[in-house]
Structure formats: C-alpha cells, structure tokens
Amino acid sequence: MMRTAGVIAALAFAALAPARAQDVAPDVLVKSVTLEVVGLIAKDKEIRGGNRAKLIGLINEKVLPHFNFTSMAALAMGQNWNKATPEQKKRITEEFKTLLVRTYASALAAYSDQKLDFRPLRAKPSDTDVTVNVRVIQQGAQPVPIDYSMEKTAAGWKVYDVMVGGVSLVANYRTEFNQMVRESGIEGLIKNLAAKNRALEGADKR
C-alpha cells in the first residue's frame, strides 16, 4: 500500500515537472535563459579569458535543454531526412548538435555587453509555433535581430531555428547538406560533420 502510494506520488511529480516547464511562456524562457547565461559569463574570469571547454559546458547545461536538435537536423536535411535510417538520424543529430553548440559558443564569446532588447511576444495563447525576437543594440549600427523559432512540445517550448540578422541557421545548412548527400550519400555527410567537429576540437586543444 505504502509502496503504491510512493509510486503514484513519483508519477504525479514526474507529470508535474513537464507541466510546469510548459507553463513558462516562450519569450519569458528566452529572456531568463539569455540573462542567466550572459550573467554567468560576465562573472566567470576563465570563460572570458578564452576557456572554450568551460563555455561549452555552460551551454550544454543551461541552453541545450531548450533546443530541439532533432527538429533542427530534420529541417536542415530537408527531403533527405526521410532517406536516413533511425540510426543515421541519431548520428546526424548528434554531430549537428556538437557543431551548433560550438558555433553558439563562438558567438557568445564575441558578445561584449551590448544592450539586449527583449521584444514582447506577438502570439495567441493557442499558438504552438512562435518566433521570439531579441535585438542586440549597438551604437553606430542597425540593431541586430536574433529570432528564435520555437515550438510547443510536451516538455515545454523548444527552439528549432535561430535567425541572426535575417539569416536562418537551419536554412543556411540546407544547401550544404543537400550537396553532400548528393555527392557522397548520407554516410558521407555524417563523416564530413564528424571530421569538421574533430578538426575544431583539435584546434581548441592547440
């Protein structure tokens, strides 16, 4: 009896956790995560001194859970996604994730306390696919818009594309991925991504 109650309680909590994550509005989520990460970097001498591994660790912990990398990989692959086996899909997603996290780390490392303008969300409460706008304000230049495309999932809002200055990251990979699949198949693309990631890792250690 006691044990059953315990299981029910555990299940209830397990069900509660995602429900609470789901309650957080997408624009609130983007703002709180961004401010938290920027704040942590500002306080961390090692990261500001160029410790890339530590920065990537921070991103993995704080930012990664809010991205849907399978969606991103699927969108970047376009029609080729359905030609991949489930195992290939997993590997593509994993390699793509590594590459994107590294790119994100480079972008964050280049950030130097410009003002951030979090725009109010323009969406209906019933929407399940929204764009959250943030703008980076800098003197003597047009503000740079960063748009997060987000979809509602059972585990809360997840980012499936980031547009910087009107350039969609996912769309920008599509031609490259397409061409590589055409030239050397899906295995070739995975090999290429993996080689790119390893080369970048090697460059970090040097």
Partner: protein
Amino acid sequence: MIGALHRILALLAAAALGGCATVADPDPRDPLEGMNRGVYRFNDKVDTWVARPVATAYRDYVPGEIRDRVRNFFANIADPMIGVNNVLQGKFEDGFFDLVRFGFNSTFGLLGLHDIASDMGYEKHNEDFGQTFGRWGAGPGPYLVLPFLGSSDLRDGLALPLDYYFDPLGELRPYHLQYGLWGTRVVALRADLLDASRILEEAALDRYIFQRDAYLQRRRSLIYDGQAPREREPESRVNPAPAPDVGNISPGGPS
C-alpha cells in the same frame, strides 16, 4: 601601379577560368559558381594576407573608445543617403528620421563622433540602392562574387556604382584625405567583421556555400526590413513523398 593592376587582373582571369570547369550541377541561384569560386579564392588570399592582418592590428592596438568614434563617424555620413533610399522606397517617416539622426549627430554628436540619436531612440537603418531596387520588385539575379568586395548579386552589383557615386567621401578634396578616410573606413569595417568571419569559418562545411546562402538570406531580409515572409520548408515532416530536388528557390517577387 598599372603593372600591379594588370597582374591582379591576370590572376583574377586565371582564377575565374580555372574555376569554370569544376561545377557540374550548379545551384539555380548561382549559375556562375565556377567563376565565383575563382574570385572567392582570390578574395580569400587578399583577406588572409592583407585585410585581416591589418584589421586585427587595428582592433588590437586602437583603443575601443576611438574605434567607436570612427564607426559612428562613418555611420553618420551614410545616414542622408540611407534616408534618400528610404524615401525612394516610399518609407517617408523612416527617411525623415534618418535626416533627423544626421542633424542631431552632426551637431550635438560632434560631427557624428557620438551616436546620440540612437540613445534618443532614433534607430539607425540599413538601406542602399540594391535594397531599393529589390523593393521595387527586382529579383537578385545570379549570385556574384566581386573582386575585393565579395558577395553580391546581379541586382546589388548593378546598384553598387550608385552607392559609390553618391557617397559623401567622393566629393572630399584633397584626394589624399579622401583616400585616407576610405582606407580607415574599410579597415574599421573589416575589423567589425572579424568575429563574424571567424564564426563563419567554424560553422561552415563549405565556406563558399555557407557565405553565399547567408548573403542571399540577409539581403532578402534587409529588403523586407526584417519582415520577410517565412521560407520554411516543413516538407520533411509533413510530406514524406520525395519531391524533385530543386533546392529552395522562390520564383518571382523580391527574394
């Protein structure tokens, strides 16, 4: 000087010809890929050996405070023509505020060294003749890589001489002052792009393609002032049937 120019042109021609044969299946947006890749390689060499080292030195040795003033100064002298282009595109209010920016920054902002207009809430815009033509309905045409200048397309390449013709530095005399300011402007511009170009290098599997697609996306977004209709391709989730492989061109309309 003439000799050097000839050598550069010969190099470019060789690069272009050398590249011509390599592309078997070009992207419909980039029919001149072979030639473009040749020019791209040439530009890359110029950048690696001249532009990037000079820009890096500028960033490392000139204090940030001074670099801000330099950026603001060149941003300010560009505002009147940005205003003209906004007016040509029918955006009279934006155009008016570009002139307001120029007025405030040139006077209270001490010849544009301080961008006080931005602090007052008058945001800077990004306009040029290429965008104006795009707004009037001109498509991008084939993608082009211009020697020294880099990514462009037929529409923007044809519009570029207008931007240069109306550039305020063009009337500046004596010439050595004009060339000096142009040099500073180019170095400062490249310095501001150092981080972006490094990120591009890291992110791309094929830098040429990555940069081309980013340019085309960016220009499309600028023409629509950031409000471009979405070009999402959800076919991988919604429609699993294999469609003909044509890439993502959007026929018609400014894109």
